[in-house]
Symmetry: C2
Subunit: 441 residues, 2 copies
């Protein structure tokens, strides 16, 4: 039986599953640490309740569930033809403060629905599937992101456990209090238990994450979903133009060294440069002038610059180019420039092989598959450093995210679900025919 | 005896007078309300002491002294050939907080020295000279400027007397406590006494004020002094560009409506436009973006715009042009603009007739006379609305003012003094020949 035929047959079930995903999104949105708005942070009571509820949904989809030592929830769908390999699917269950409903939960609920569908159609998979609800991606409580996926990638450090939240509670105590003590075991050595959370990369086919785009590209292109090429790398810079302050009334234009004029010229140059580079985004999000009075020529202007691209080489070249542009602008104006690279994070490319499979699955559901980088970070950026990773972006209204107005349509959820089911089926077919997918990133 | 010959004869006396002006500048700089820095505010103990000291210097220059109802100090040099007309000369004795020594006092001390010189050379003047030390120009204590000259111009309102300083003391009480009660008279009706401060414009030939430039033009031109064309008018605007905030990582450049980019384009346009207009200055001194995070595209950018020119027509045209430029930039970028005219003050032109006389006096002391507008306000801006006014700018180091680094050389003080003496002599000569100067602005 061809895949296309099978999809058609199941479209009624798909609509039912999409409806259920939307109902579960609403149910999860009611589980919050802050009455009146959605906030669910690492190891909080709301996270405990969310894990309990999602665990029940996992089990009703035929999965066995467990929680690891940092509070990641894992539902296992065991293959009927076990190769010993597993496909990881998931996203995070924590949220930012005053969050939208879809950022994180959508990927977990879609994965559960996908497993449920494949189980109902009694699809024989040559690998197992673990659906993961990560315990922390947003980093709200401990000001450090990706606690769940870092533990799985073996990148959560013992020093992280000593971090304190706003109330002075260490991460170690928060975890011990909140999580299933059986995961830590006798003696209560949490650090050792967290080392055991690390996945065995050799046994993993790959990691799949569905997530809202958090940007406007799919909406602009009028497409429900898209495939992610990479989680973009990021450079954050701080730049300060130092000119000469002066009286706004008594200093003629030609004798000024106005630091804000230099900064403004730079802001325009940043925009113009980034527009010419495919997929590059560069943003000046903060600017401050000194002394900052309406009748005084600014003597200094300090600004931030955020540069992102899926290619580290492109990002680094852009960073160098924009820094040298800033220097040239300062020099031309008799001003000084100080600049500092505050942070640089490398891009994490998604697996080209898995992208290809995902693109084939997408093309079956919508006219064309667009590939786009993710400018925001995701659990896939962490897991992608140890196993092949791929991401499906789902269109969200006006690109709004991290806000109660976050919105996704049920029609798009249905498309995403159909794409995911096809992705798993295509993967199973390829795996059956060559069995070596895990080795080919 | 020709003027030139007379000047030569007196050059030794001039140097002595310049030295004395500098010594008096130092003596006055020690009279302060705040130990360790120079601050002298309206009706403060330091102002009382300053008036007492300057009054002694006036009397030693042969003047009779009095204080009016707002605390202006007036030294009168009576003509030996009285026409009933007087020339006003002066500046202010109050200062900003942590002030320089020259802003204000220089003009008063130069006027006293000028009268002293003319008296010593027994120059027969056909008019009297009143030297005025204004009680308040900076407006530090009551947040409203020109209290002294506004009283003389009949523009100090009764409502001003109800203003309170930072300690809740009304202006009326501050004046009654500090000034010579004889000026108020029996019954203590201060408002009536202040009405009597108003000068009789018909009896006044004009007002002359020497002041440091507070800008870099004379230094740049390598000239000790210059003649002021007008006290520039000023328009203050508040503008806000409203774009769309967004994620700095997920919003492609071509889908942004970055409010800061719009503002930056505007700042560059303001600078470029003002550079093309003779004597126009336009300054963006404050800028604020919202939400103001390094990883968020600015959704709004608010800025101030300060525009000054000696011609109201030029300033108003510039204000209209720049506002329409801002609108065009917003429209082109799909952003919105809100703009508000916060304040508009008309220019006060200096008397062309007195400018001419002053320029002749200047040309005798330095190769050429440059005419420049004053971008800052002065007592001449107030008196200039009721009598012909003229101003002499004296070069100050690097244009620095309102700062302890304010600096003027003794050589420039000597030039200024020579120019002032010649100005009075030229005025006397013209007055004697046509007697109608007061009617010809």
């Amino acid at each position: 039986m061809g895949l296309q035929h099978l999809s058609g047959q199941l479209s009624g079930a798909m609509s039912q599953q999409a409806r259920e995903v939307m109902q579960r999104i609403e149910a999860l949105a009611r589980i919050t640490d802050e009455p009146g708005r959605l906030t669910r942070t690492f190891c909080s009571p709301a996270m405990r309740d969310a894990n309990a509820l999602v665990g029940r949904w996992m089990r009703s989809a035929g999965m066995t569930t467990r929680e690891d030592a940092v509070g990641n929830l894992i539902g296992s769908h065991t293959s009927s033809n076990p190769s010993g390999k597993i496909l990881l699917m998931g996203s995070h269950l924590d949220t930012v403060r005053n969050a939208g409903k879809f950022d994180g939960p959508l990927g977990v609920l879609l994965a559960i629905a996908c497993v449920d569908m494949l189980r109902r159609e009694r699809h024989q998979l040559p690998f197992g599937i673990d659906v993961i609800g990560f315990a922390d991606e947003e980093g709200v409580r401990y000001q450090t992101t990706y606690l769940g996926s870092r533990a799985m990638a073996g990148r959560l450090r013992k020093s992280d456990l000593a971090r304190k939240d706003a109330e002075g509670i260490t991460m170690e105590n928060a975890i011990l209090k909140a999580t299933d003590s059986t995961a830590v075991g006798k003696g209560g050595d949490l650090a050792a238990a967290i080392r055991r959370v690390r996945i065995n990369a050799h046994g993993v086919l790959g990691y799949f994450e569905a997530h809202i785009e958090q940007g406007p590209v799919l909406e602009k292109k009028n497409l429900p979903v898209g495939v992610v090429t990479a989680i973009a790398g990021q450079s954050r810079l701080s730049l300060k133009f130092i000119g000469v302050a002066g009286h706004a009334g008594t200093t003629p234009m030609n004798l000024r060294r106005d630091a804000l004029c230099a900064a403004a010229e730079f802001v325009c140059a940043v925009e113009s440069f980034a527009r010419q580079q495919s997929d590059l985004v560069a943003t000046v999000g903060q600017i401050k002038v000194e002394p900052g009075a309406s009748n005084v020529i600014p003597g200094a202007a300090e600004l931030t610059l955020d540069i992102r691209h899926q290619s580290d080489a492109v990002r680094e070249a852009a960073t160098a180019k924009l820094t040298s542009l800033a220097k040239a602008i300062a020099r031309k104006r008799g001003a000084k420039l100080s600049s500092e690279l505050v942070q640089a994070t490398d891009a994490v490319p998604c697996s080209p092989r898995l992208q290809q499979v995902l693109a084939r699955a997408i093309k079956k559901q919508q006219n064309r598959s667009v590939a786009l980088p993710s400018g925001a970070g995701h659990d896939a950026a962490v897991l992608g450093t140890v196993v092949p990773a791929t991401m499906l972006f789902v269109r969200c209204k006006a690109g709004i995210s991290h806000h109660p107005d976050e919105s996704v349509t049920i029609a798009d959820v249905r498309v995403a679900l159909a794409v995911m089911a096809d992705f798993v089926r295509l993967l199973a077919k390829e795996f059956a025919s060559n069995g070596a997918l895990a080795k080919r990133r």
